[in-house]
Symmetry: C2
Subunit: 731 residues, 2 copies
């Protein structure tokens, strides 16, 4: 009996593949998307690739990357870019630097003082520690928030907990207004740009953000340099750009970089904040909070400082002054290509290289690992292998200010990317511990699980997948007080793959260009985010002392790239996508039903979702029926193109209501959450706002997108059937 | 049409009564248990009673009660008892003091010092505050735990969070042993006696209890004297007697007071702890905790002190020394009777009068309010009313060391109480705020709701009931971080009445003698429990500044007593009891089923529960069918006696496995929780321990109790039917 061909394995049950069953005892396990005849050679290739990355090389990479502070817009950032380019050239890549000029003001002065009840200078620098000479580096930028305007304010203070929407609602119920006041908000629960926007909307005169010990300091665990958490003097830098409207250069909204004719003025930019904003440490915040009057805060507003918090205002008065230099600065994207036989299909990997200070975890750990993946791929080429497709590795500049390097590049190359890109694989804070996590478009979730089943976990005898499934089953606060809650598994008993929100460079690829995307990393206790202390010492003592997880991340990245490069038929699973859409649609319908009259607007969505499910099922069956041995390369290419392009059918040309840059109808960051993904954002947020007119428009737009996807999947079915009965097939 | 008689109203739907519907527009609303002809006069009597208590008198009572520290075993406690006796005599009561001698050691020396890494004297006294001269009183006893043995220990320290069972399990998983160490545990989550027992079981050398700011200090809200929460120097005194085995004098287990021939020696007492134990303040605990080494604690073990907690041990070494005087002391129960026409039926109210220091909230607020209820009842007698039954008001001594005054009195009078007592109504920490709460045997839950529907709430235009139902619907942490979570309502939309656990004087009445019981009070933010700061200043500034809630509590207590005194047929609702039992039995069966083979042991319980439900329904119907006008007093008395005695049929003579004093098969404090009620404790704890042999015995004992209750309810049905067709009835 001829073994059942399985290059359409993407559509077989995961259980069968996981068990390595392939129809006969002499056979090796199949690989989703590979003809049986190619499975063995692919396994060998992956084994070879996996043998190349080393912890020592990753450590050396990170030591170099963290040798000086290298913020976007500085010469050091250019030096890192040049080094990366040269490294990739040495690996055998065709590497170049793409330079853009971006609106990137840096601070001239950031000053904060308490003027009453007693004078005190605040906004103190981060404390150095003898154990770690890097913390004495004078080149570290002081705490500031990118895109704060210049300004000077003297006003009393009101504390607003995390400064998110529900906090302002609570404040209102307490009868306290922030109008004309300086708002003090702690970091956490949402993107800081949302906090700036809400403070502005509530007419605050200024905003101070601080790191509460409860969220990432001593309440969570031992602080640096004794432990991985934020010391009392640690400051979280960060951008407050309104990226929920669009990321990228605030002066080139929705267009490519440098088309100077179409630049807007800073005053006309929709994404630049309007009130002075700065970050401070817990230690400085304590002086302010201790002097607030008013009623004591609701229980869940109380943080970790050792006194009862009060809402304010009170005797204490602050004087804040911020002077920015309002300048454009050059940024440097590194684009490295390993050309394949087919140079018109690209597998893209990326991470940013700019850092607030040393950036050991963010982004150095991801960069150091990705370099090892790149080196491994280069080694394979040196040993005689030729990629089927082109592998593109990107190291973006100016991610921290607002995903600028990636957004501008995607905008400039949108048409080419939509034609050529098969997928985008991102890592950013690549390693802060041993807990693997992933987010992806639903079509790629099972693919990510597949690959992690092939890579060994450094700490256990099992695979990365086994460890991942094990730790997500544990409850959240046993591990850390601040890590994001693990997403619920989409499939019971499997490791969960989350939805892609925002906060890193996959956003322009997915949200703007409709490229299927993946984001991965190994997480752990990490309290030094965006501070001086996110440095080599931190990684060597807490994040990944042996660098074994850097090497593991390099292997996962490498195998992800290799399989996408080598697959006969791309391992995209649209049945999974359709069922996630169907589940979400049901939840939205239930919400709409609760709110009464608006439910009818969602009927077209339900119908289109059902159509999509049917088309996805048919496509799955058609692909399963294809005999692997009986397809010619031209047909396979056409089929693959159709599979990739399904994601783009989910874009809507005009974008979401009020934020046209975000074109994806299924995923976007929430307008008032910022990092977390909002599913079916147009419909969901119209329901939140109780806006029936917009709801109808967004529901129709979503339904149209789902119908387009269904139609495209019907084409996939036809191509699959055609492929099978192709004259080129040898029966 | 003759109006439908409704003195069996206990068995009509609550909705009908609440709406005041009574069959015709000219009629007044019925009262559960009253003939229609008596409803109007009862309403008048209740109105009159409610008009008597005043906030000013309650305040004066509290000012007197808190004029000096009056711990059990001291002369001041005798002075309070004598004053209470004299007050009740002035109200017209027949009042006397009953004196017992109890094992009641007091501390000679309580010393704690850190010997390493640096010497420091701990166990500091509570700090006085200028605003409140009472806090300078030298007569306040220093922090100590009653029934700690004398002892001296020098040892390193291990922190065990709350020191409850799950904490020791977690500690074991961390690989840390407390053997030979001093255990540091924070107060909260369970009775301190359980913490002592667990530390002893785990072979600790000593135990230190402290108040963490997260639980009742600055994390919860402003601290005394700026707010109602515990200041950093505040110490929680309290007993560590193993009352989960039995409360009362540890040398008279399960027998009455002073039968000297049957005293056991202290060394042979089952309820005396064996390792030195003392309480300290947050401020002192901080010095110890800061010097602990080992790994940082699991997230939920971290408290509110401003550093990362570690499990220990470490460099720090403690020397603790406790010297107790091992003496018996006299205690003084005050028993005040208002004799009724029928002196063989008693309605009993009670609270303790002993306090750790001034005891403004605990127990003064309850005492001051109960005195006003007593005065009001006395005034009614002076104005010509004569109680139908005898009202007994008790003020217990030595509740704080272990419910000694009440337990010894109940033990001495058990037979008489089981013959005469209709119900026991307790209040203890009577007023700490404005949120009414209640716990009761299920037969009396609707009765408690009924009465609170008749008393006005001081803060709103509605009744105590309306306010109670409103606030329990609010989420827990909006009110306070430490108050007990509101119980789930037994009936959707109604205010919830909880189950009776332990921790106050209802325990001997219910758990040992089977007297139907009620416990009530008004709660709020209260962080000064068992400290120097629970004083008049606290009550006047935070707990109840106007004393309006004291007056409201007096009214609720008074109407509860009056209705039980005056009811034609006692308002006990055994259908409600049967359905709570049925629900609990279902939950236990589900738990047993999960654990497999033990499920069959519970079959007799299910059968008996079904039998009880059927009998309760029949009894309800029979009582509803009774024509109020057609019953003679002798028959009514017999019926009432049968109704009261149903509770006693739920006792099992031999008591629960391992703790024979606890005789109630449905309710007991949990063996390893201490305050919270465990329902069907014998069965439930056997399941917890996975002990099938005991489970079988306890299930049979429970089933037998349920069958006895069913039989007694069948007698109620027969009596009710007999009563209706009684020859004495005038048709």
């Amino acid at each position: 009996m001829k073994p059942l061909s399985r290059w359409s394995g993407a559509l077989l049950g995961a259980a069968i593949l996981a068990a390595g069953i392939s129809g006969g005892s002499q056979e090796i396990a199949g690989i989703r998307g590979f003809r049986a005849s190619r499975v063995e050679s692919e396994r060998e290739l992956e084994q070879k690739l996996q043998s190349i990355p080393t912890a020592a090389r990753a450590e050396a990479n990170l030591r170099h990357l963290t040798s000086e502070p290298h913020m976007a817009g500085t010469d050091a950032s250019r030096r890192v870019a040049e080094w990366l380019r040269d490294q990739y050239r040495s690996f055998g890549f065709d590497a170049e630097i793409v330079t853009y000029s971006a609106w990137l003001p840096l601070p001239l002065e950031v000053k904060l003082e308490m003027t009453a009840p007693e004078p005190r200078t605040l906004a103190s620098p981060e404390q150095p520690f003898e154990q770690d000479p890097d913390t004495y580096d004078k080149r570290a930028v002081p705490g500031f928030n990118t895109y704060s305007p210049s300004g000077e304010v003297t006003a009393p203070v009101v504390y607003v907990n995390y400064g998110m929407q529900e906090d302002y609602r609570e404040l209102e119920s307490l009868g306290v207004s922030v109008e004309g006041k300086i708002v003090l908000a702690r970091y956490g629960q949402g993107f800081r740009g949302i906090k700036a926007k809400l403070a502005e909307e509530h007419k605050a005169a200024g905003l101070i953000l601080y790191s509460d010990p409860q969220d990432d300091g001593f309440v969570a665990g031992d602080t640096f340099p004794e432990g991985p958490w934020r010391p009392a003097s640690g400051v979280q830098r960060g951008s407050i750009l309104y990226t929920e409207l669009h990321p990228g250069d605030p002066l080139t909204p929705g267009v490519g970089p440098n088309p100077s004719a179409r630049h807007v003025l800073p005053a006309d930019s929709a994404t630049l904040p309007h009130i002075p904003t700065m970050p401070i440490s817990a230690m400085d915040a304590a002086f302010i909070l201790e002097n607030l009057a008013g009623r004591h805060v609701p229980r869940r507003w109380q943080g970790g400082l050792p006194f009862t918090y009060h809402v304010g205002p009170g005797a204490s008065q602050l004087h804040m002054k911020i002077a920015m230099d309002y300048a454009e600065r050059p940024i440097y994207d590194v684009i490295a290509k390993l050309h394949g036989t087919n140079d018109h299909e690209w597998v893209i990997l990326g991470n940013h290289h700019d850092a607030w200070v040393f950036g050991a975890a963010d982004p150095g750990s991801g960069t150091a690992s990705m370099m090892e993946a790149g080196r491994a791929l280069g080694e394979l080429v040196r040993s005689g292998w030729k990629p089927q497709r082109t592998i593109v590795i990107c190291h973006w500049d100016a991610e921290e200010p607002g995903l600028i390097g990636s957004t501008e590049w995607v905008a400039a190359k949108r048409a080419e990317l939509q034609e050529k890109a098969l997928a985008y694989i991102n890592t950013d804070v690549g390693v802060t511990g041993s807990h693997f996590s992933a987010a992806a478009t639903p079509s790629l979730k099972e693919f990510v699980r597949d690959v992690t089943r092939q890579v060994g976990d450094p700490a256990s005898k099992g695979t990365v997948y086994d460890a991942w499934r094990g730790h997500t089953a544990r409850s959240f606060d046993e591990i850390s007080g601040t890590a994001r809650k693990a997403p619920k598994p989409e499939i019971a008993g499997e490791a969960p793959v989350g939805a892609l929100g925002a906060g890193s460079d996959f956003s322009p690829f997915l949200d703007y260009a409709g490229i299927p995307s993946i984001d991965i990393g190994f997480g752990g206790d990490y309290g030094v985010y965006h501070s001086l202390y996110d440095d080599f010492y931190w990684m060597k003592h807490f994040g990944d002392p042996t660098f074994a997880y850097h090497a593991a991340l390099a292997r996962v990245l490498g195998v992800l790239a290799l399989r996408l490069d080598e697959a006969d038929i791309l391992p995209f699973d649209y049945s999974a996508y359709a069922s996630e859409i169907s589940r979400e649609q049901n939840e939205l319908a239930a919400r709409a039903a609760q709110e009464g009259t608006q439910a009818s607007s969602l009927k077209p969505v339900a119908q289109a979702s059902a159509q999509l499910s049917a088309s996805a099922s048919r496509a799955s069956l058609s692909l399963r029926a294809v005999k692997a041995t009986s397809i010619d390369p031209a047909r396979a290419k056409e089929l693959n193109r159709a599979l990739v392009s399904v994601e783009q059918t989910l874009l809507t040309q005009g974008g979401l209501a009020g934020r046209p840059w975000f074109k994806h109808t299924i995923y976007a960051p929430g307008t008032y959450t910022g990092y977390a993904a909002e599913t079916m954002p147009g419909v969901s947020e119209s329901l939140d706002r109780n806006d029936p007119a917009t709801l109808r428009i967004e529901a129709d737009s979503l339904a149209a997108a789902l119908r387009r996807a269904a139609t495209r999947l019907d084409e996939v079915s036809n191509l699959a059937r055609g492929a099978e009965s192709s004259p080129a097939a040898g029966h």
